[in-house]
Amino acid sequence: MRELIWKAKLLAAASGLVVLAALSSCSDTEAPSAKARGGDSKAQQPVSLARSDVPTYPSRIVNSYGITSTRAYERIDRPSLSDRPYDDRKALHLDHQYSFLGLPSVRDLVARSRLVVVGTVLTIGNPHFNSSDGGFWDPKLHDEPGITDIAADVLRDVTIHVEEVWSSTETDLANQSQLTFTTPAGQVDLQLAPGVAKQLDWPVRDRYVLGSPPEVDVRVGERAVFFLTTESLDGLYDGRYAAVPAITASHELAYKFSFAAGGLRNSYWPGVTLSPRELRDAASSEILGASAPPEPAPGVDPADPHTQTDGGYPPTEADEPYHTHGE
């Protein structure tokens, strides 16, 4: 009996040690993000996207269009992209529902990528808009003659600790121990300034909740293989339609392979499991980056004037050619 008690105590002590070790490792992976503010965001040519100064945005942003709040996200202990803390029914909910270019195979995903890494998610920033201050804006509120409207998106920034680089087209990206990529996700709580709802043709309400669930969920502490690229992120910057360089998900439906029993899995191709060797070999293909977006220009890059192209389809019938009334 004494021996049993002794062994139980030893086991408990050992367990305690394991727990302590686990806690310790947890605090390591949950170390504060190295995201820093300020610094010179304009890189020298060629564009360096080893961004350690990804802007962070306050949880309450006031601009001429209204008040954008994401304060509810600050109460979330272990963030994930799919967090939707504004699901109350007192506000009018406006959901973005995107459609995407199809992705026939992993090979096509590799072609769209410039960087494939194994990493662990360190932090996920609060939602913000694609604008200088991160606050709400809408193309119906902004007029730049001759420039095609740019979509206003709700975005979040995911910072990962890079454990291993499987492939990269750019040396500066491959040498980073941390990366931040940006992807559409999240909700914002919105109070519009007087008259703005009418300008937008929105129902007039005291509050709106605007945003969209991500196509792929990511949570802090998660370890996965990430397929990333670089591109110009369109938005409203410095008061005009422009783009800023960013690291983004190669394809918002399929950029993450999760470690699972038996190998790596991707929610876009359910039923498919690849071994790490298979996926790494695919990621190292010479096709890496072949259909990646155009390389971004440094700094804030104003949008080009719209050039009309004749699509070869002159109007052949009047608008509204068909109109029915049922029963």
């Binding site: 406006l94 459609s99 270019l101 199809g102 998106d153 043709d201 983004t248 990646a292 608008d319 049922g326």
Partner: protein
């Protein structure tokens, strides 16, 4: 559980569909008309309690500045085709749905520049539980599609015709059909084993492929809310 639910569904039908909409969420899940792997709740992800329903619903829309330009006539025509041949003709008259062009209308149909692999977007307003069709505030397709490329470096473009889609173009009719589907309160779903390139509401449109006609399953879901009230479709 399944058996119990089926019994309750039959009871609902017997009394002419008087069950409250919230209950019908469960009934819909075990309705016999489901395809393999159909997660019906996913189709109403934006309306999880399935409270939107139909009543001779009308969508009033206007053209945005970009698509209203002459050189986008093809897109306007394919939008009409997507609505007419894709949804209106297939769901009417059982689940009537109509569109009207009106310069002061609330739904903004346009083309916009964007980033990433996005081809389009719907902005749907979930109003109160009595909304007969969610307010669709925006439907747009991507204007700067040339920022997307094939592996050989070829810039993508929209196919704005009505025939077969070339191997280096994306079908505008198919993309509009999906966006208009969001106006039916339907979100993305691909049945198990189906090819997402040929499913209207899959969330993806593939180069060189078509998905212009919603499937009977998708029409069924466009009709479900109507059926719940009117016991037909």
């Amino acid at each position: 559980m399944r058996r119990r639910c089926r019994f309750i569904v039959l009871l609902v039908l017997a009394v002419g569909g008087l069950a409250p909409p919230a209950f019908a969420h469960d009934a819909r899940r075990i309705d016999g008309d489901t395809e393999d792997g159909c997660q019906t709740s996913q189709l109403y992800d934006s309306d999880p309690e399935c409270r939107g329903h139909w009543r001779n619903s009308h969508m009033y829309y206007h053209w945005g500045n970009e698509i209203d330009d002459n050189h986008h006539a093809g897109h306007r025509e394919r939008f009409h085709d997507a609505v007419r041949h894709g949804w209106v003709e297939r769901s009417n008259p059982d689940s009537p749905w109509h569109k009207h062009k009106n310069s002061s209308a609330g739904t903004h149909v346009d083309m916009q520049n964007s980033s990433g692999p996005r081809l389009g977007r719907g902005l749907v307003a979930q109003d109160d539980s009595n909304a007969h069709i969610p307010r669709v505030l925006e439907l747009w397709l991507r204007h700067d599609i040339a920022d997307l490329q094939l592996p050989d470096g070829t810039d993508l473009s929209w196919y704005r015709g009505t025939g077969d889609v070339p191997n280096d173009q994306v079908d505008a009719w198919s993309a509009w059909a999906e966006e208009v589907g969001h106006a039916q309160n339907i979100t993305h779903f691909t049945p198990s084993g189906a090819d997402a390139c040929h499913v209207t509401m899959s969330g993806t449109t593939c180069v060189g492929e078509r998905k212009r006609s919603p499937s009977s399953h998708e029409i069924w879901h466009a009709c479900v809310a109507y059926r719940r009230v009117h016991n037909s479709c």
